[in-house]
Each structure stands twice: as structure tokens, then as C-alpha cells.
């Protein structure tokens, strides 16, 4: 019998080790059930995958298709760039903007005006987009 090719060997070593570590995580989850509440945990874990793969991704591709069909070719790239930055930054700070974590007894928690902050960031981002788009528009005409 010949030795497996090096790629193969790496694959199986990593697979064995990796599934062992996954097993450690799962056993820790159930050993600490009073804190992890596995029933709830699994719902959020699986839910994360479903929400990404069947909501976030399809919406992204749908918007992408719209951009390709509606936005003129020569300013398409900066427009896409602006959308990507805005969507990811907006999604990340959404809980802050909505103030879900605000509490009456602690004014030092979430002290900023996050809607104003996000607006400022978006103004800067779309100003950059406009500059790039203008440059590309001029160059190609």
C-alpha cells in the first residue's frame, strides 16, 4: 500500500482533530446546560445559519441583480462599493441605533447618538462614492 498523498493526510488529520474539538464544544454546551440552555442555544445557532443563507444572502443577490440592471455601467463599481459598506456598517450598529440596550439606571451605557453617528459615516462614504463615480464618468466620456 502506498502512503496517501500529503494533501490527503492533512485532510484526515485536520478532520479528526476538528471533529474532536467540535465534540468538546458540544459536550461543554450540555455539561453547562443550566447556563447555556441548549434548547434556546440550538435555536439561535441554527437560526443564524437559516437567516444568513435564506434571507440575508438572497436579499443581497437580489439587490446585486437590481444594481447591474439599473445602474449605468461606468459608475456601477463605486455604487456597489457604497452599498456594501453602508449595508454592513448599518447592520452592525443597528442594535445601537435602535437603543435596545439602553437602561435608565446607567447613562454611561450607549452614550452616543448612534443615528447621528451612522448618518455621518454614511455621508462620508457616499461622498467618497460620488467622487469616484465622477472621476470614472469623466474618464470614459
Amino acid at each position: 500500500m502506498t502512503a496517501p498523498p500529503p494533501g490527503r493526510r492533512t485532510f484526515w488529520i485536520c478532520a479528526a482533530l476538528g471533529w474532536l474539538v467540535i465534540g468538546y464544544g458540544v459536550s461543554g454546551l450540555f455539561d453547562n446546560a443550566s447556563r447555556t440552555n441548549p434548547d434556546q442555544w440550538v435555536r439561535w445557532f441554527v437560526g443564524s445559519l437559516i437567516v444568513h443563507d435564506f434571507v440575508v444572502a438572497p436579499v443581497t443577490f437580489a439587490v446585486g441583480a437590481l444594481v447591474v440592471s439599473r445602474i449605468p455601467r461606468r459608475i456601477r463599481a463605486p455604487f456597489q462599493a457604497g452599498l456594501v459598506v453602508s449595508a454592513i456598517v448599518g447592520l452592525t450598529v443597528w442594535p445601537l441605533v435602535r437603543g435596545y440596550g439602553l437602561r435608565a439606571d446607567n447613562a454611561s451605557a450607549l452614550p452616543n447618538n448612534y443615528l447621528a453617528g451612522l448618518t455621518m459615516v454614511l455621508v462620508v462614504v457616499w461622498s467618497a462614492v460620488a467622487l469616484f463615480a465622477l472621476r470614472r464618468w469623466r474618464r470614459r466620456t
Binding site: W12, L17, G25, Q40, F61, Q80, V89, N106, N112, V125
Partner: protein
């Protein structure tokens, strides 16, 4: 092998459903390396914080360097935030493969594809729950640190399987010359370089607008940070208020006394005036939260070492620090010998030049070098020498 049923070729299963040239192994490899690096730093700094708070028998966390914990947890949150655009970009790049048909080609492919479930679910779960946590938003019914911690092991395991499965393709993608993909695409859409640049720019925007919560020179840019190191009573943030800890009355009780018990030669009961009469110490130490913010504060009080000597306890002991707080997981913390004997570990009575604000732990709080904020116990009622 039996023939698989033919599926109707519609939607994402349609031939050529995904037209972008960016869905390439090379884009995936480049983003994968960046994400894998960020995730690994995030994982290691997270596990470290867990070990510091719940030390296994073989683990001892030293009291020096004083600012090490602050750096590791600043990194933990910063690498987590950077991972958001990296992960979303990576998942977008490889998304068409979710719909590949047949779904499984052979045994190695099965092992690899099965690991994608915990990998994708785990990564999205960790970043979502982490962001919600620093935003102080808890829409789930599990204890966040425990749920986040065990999910990180599951995800790390899946990442190890994934690295083993992709190592050779990543190596060949990175050593191959590939000038074609750098040129402008025919549709006028982003090129690969443009796409990677946008993902990097997003990471940059998120970092610049948040990292000031721990890196004070960037404080003024931190418009999207959940905390400002200079905002709060006495000029720095509070995590748990006296109200939410349920100590508003007991902490203001004029009959307050600090007890020193356990393995001591003589038990002590010290009033605030007794404490103020002891030899004072001063130090400048950060208060550093696992949630990624930190602030440097000037503290005045009595060294724990000084009080232990008064009680006749020798060096080399661990000490449990108990709070007036009636319940909660963080109502007490342990000082290991390195922390208990460090001359900068204080029972603080004052900070930034004034008596402690009740939300910062009046009448007495613990402050020591290189410790997580949740282990800088506030409203201290008792030291128990172990």
C-alpha cells in the same frame, strides 16, 4: 453510484445563476486567510478571558504586565468587529457552492460539507451574539458568556476541518499567477481587487468608529462605539449600577464595616474611618471590560497586602473578595497569590481625586493590575483569606 434525481434547474440551481466572476476560489482563498487569522486571534483572546475568570487547575494569570488584559480584550472585540465584513464577503463569494448538485461527491466531500454547518452557523452566531452583547442587547434566553464560549469551540473545530480540506487549494491559488481577474470586469462591476478593497474599507470604517472605546487617541472618532472611556460618573463608564446590583441602601449604611476572615491570625472588622487611618496607596490602573472598552483611572486606597498583614496573614494566599451585592455570578472574585500580594492591588476609597461614586463601588472597591473589570469587585464587604 445511483443516479441522483434530477432537480428542476430553477432559481439558484439554474446553470449560470451566479454570474459574477468574483465567485472564484482565489477570492475565497484570500478572504479565508484574513478571516481565519482574525477568527483565531478572537478565539484565543476569548478563551484566555474565560480561563482568567474560571481558571482551570493548571492555569495561573499573573498580575503583571498591568495592561495585558486590556490589550487582549481590546483585540478580542476589534478582531470580532473586523470579522463581520470578512465573513459576509467570504460567504457571498462561496454562496453558489451551497447549491451545487450533486450535493455530495464522495466521503471526503461529505466530511468537509458536514463541517460547513457548524462553521457557518457558528461564525454567524458568534458575531451576532458578540455584537448584541457589546450593544447590551440580550434577545435570547441563555447566559451570554457560556453560550458564546461553547459556540466558539464548536466553530473552531469546524474551522480546523475546513482548513484541512482547503489547505491545498489555497496554496495553489496563492502561488498561481492570475493576472486576468485583476482587469476590469465586462459588466463594469467591482473587480476582485475592488471587492477585496471594499471589504477592507468596511473593516476600516467599523474599526475607526469603534476602537476609540479602548484606544484613547481615537476616542473622538468613536461615534459608533457602545462606550466612551471618558463618559460616566467621575469620567469613566459603569457596567453594573448600584441600583441594578441592589446595593443602593446597604452601600450607604453608616454602620458599614469591612470584615477580614479566613486563614488569618486575627479577624478584623474595619469601619471606613479605620480604613482611612491606614497607610494610603495610590496607583493608576485601567478598568478593562471583556466587552472591549477600557479607561485609565487614578485610584487611592489601601493595599490589600497592607490589610492582610494587619490581620496576620502571610504572603502566598489566595483571597476571596465578597461584595455587598446579594446575588449574581459576579458578586465575588478571587485574588490569586500573585494578585493578592501585588502592591498595586488596592481596596480603593477614591478615584480621579474624589470619593468613589456609588456606581463605581462606594464605599470600597477592589482594583488590581491585569484583571477583568467584572473581577474588580465593587461594594466590597469581606476579604476571606483562603
Amino acid at each position: 453510484m445511483r443516479a441522483l434525481p434530477r432537480l428542476p434547474r430553477i432559481g439558484p440551481l439554474k446553470e449560470g445563476a451566479f454570474t459574477s466572476q468574483l465567485h472564484s476560489p482565489r477570492t475565497a482563498a484570500l478572504l479565508g486567510i484574513a478571516l481565519g487569522t482574525a477568527f483565531t486571534i478572537c478565539f484565543l483572546t476569548g478563551v484566555l478571558s474565560h480561563f482568567i475568570q474560571q481558571p482551570p487547575s493548571w492555569f495561573t494569570w499573573p498580575s503583571r504586565p498591568a495592561g495585558l488584559y486590556r490589550v487582549t480584550q481590546g483585540l478580542h472585540v476589534a478582531t470580532g468587529i473586523i470579522s463581520i465584513p470578512l465573513l459576509l464577503g467570504k460567504l457571498w463569494t462561496v454562496y453558489p457552492r451551497l447549491w451545487q448538485w450533486p450535493p455530495v461527491e464522495n466521503l471526503t466531500h461529505l466530511v468537509e460539507r458536514l463541517s460547513l454547518f457548524p462553521l457557518v452557523a457558528g461564525n454567524v452566531f458568534l458575531l451576532f451574539s458578540g455584537i448584541a452583547n457589546i450593544s447590551l442587547w440580550y434577545p435570547w434566553q441563555f447566559f451570554f458568556p457560556a453560550g458564546h464560549y461553547w459556540a466558539s469551540w464548536v466553530t473552531m473545530g469546524a474551522l480546523i476541518v475546513h482548513i484541512g480540506a482547503k489547505a491545498s487549494i489555497v496554496r495553489s491559488e496563492l502561488t498561481r499567477r492570475d493576472p486576468a481577474n485583476l482587469q476590469a470586469t465586462t459588466s463594469g462591476a467591482l473587480t476582485r481587487r475592488g471587492f477585496l478593497g471594499v471589504i477592507a474599507a468596511t473593516a476600516g470604517v467599523l474599526t475607526l468608529t469603534t476602537v476609540g472605546q479602548t484606544l484613547s487617541p481615537l476616542n473622538r472618532l468613536a461615534v459608533l462605539a457602545p462606550r466612551r472611556p471618558d463618559v460616566g460618573p467621575q469620567g469613566f463608564p459603569v457596567n453594573k449600577s448600584a441600583f441594578s446590583a441592589g446595593v443602593l441602601e446597604v452601600a450607604r449604611d453608616p454602620g458599614y464595616s469591612l470584615r477580614v476572615t479566613g486563614r488569618v491570625e486575627r479577624e478584623l472588622s474595619l469601619s471606613l474611618d479605620d480604613l482611612r487611618a491606614l497607610r494610603p496607596s495610590e496607583t493608576t490602573l485601567p478598568i478593562s471590560c471583556v466587552e472591549g472598552w477600557s479607561a485609565t483611572v487614578r485610584w487611592e486606597g489601601i493595599a490589600v497586602r497592607e490589610i492582610l498583614e494587619l490581620a496576620g496573614a502571610g504572603t502566598g494566599h489566595s483571597v476571596r473578595v465578597e461584595s455587598l451585592q446579594p446575588d449574581g455570578l459576579y458578586r465575588a472574585s478571587d485574588l490569586n497569590p500573585s494578585h493578592a500580594d501585588d502592591p498595586d492591588t488596592l481596596l480603593a476609597l477614591r478615584c480621579n481625586g474624589d470619593a468613589l461614586h456609588i456606581d463605581h463601588g462606594f464605599p470600597v472597591r477592589l482594583i488590581g493590575p491585569n484583571r477583568p473589570g467584572v473581577m474588580q469587585t465593587k461594594w466590597v464587604s469581606e476579604l476571606i483569606v483562603l
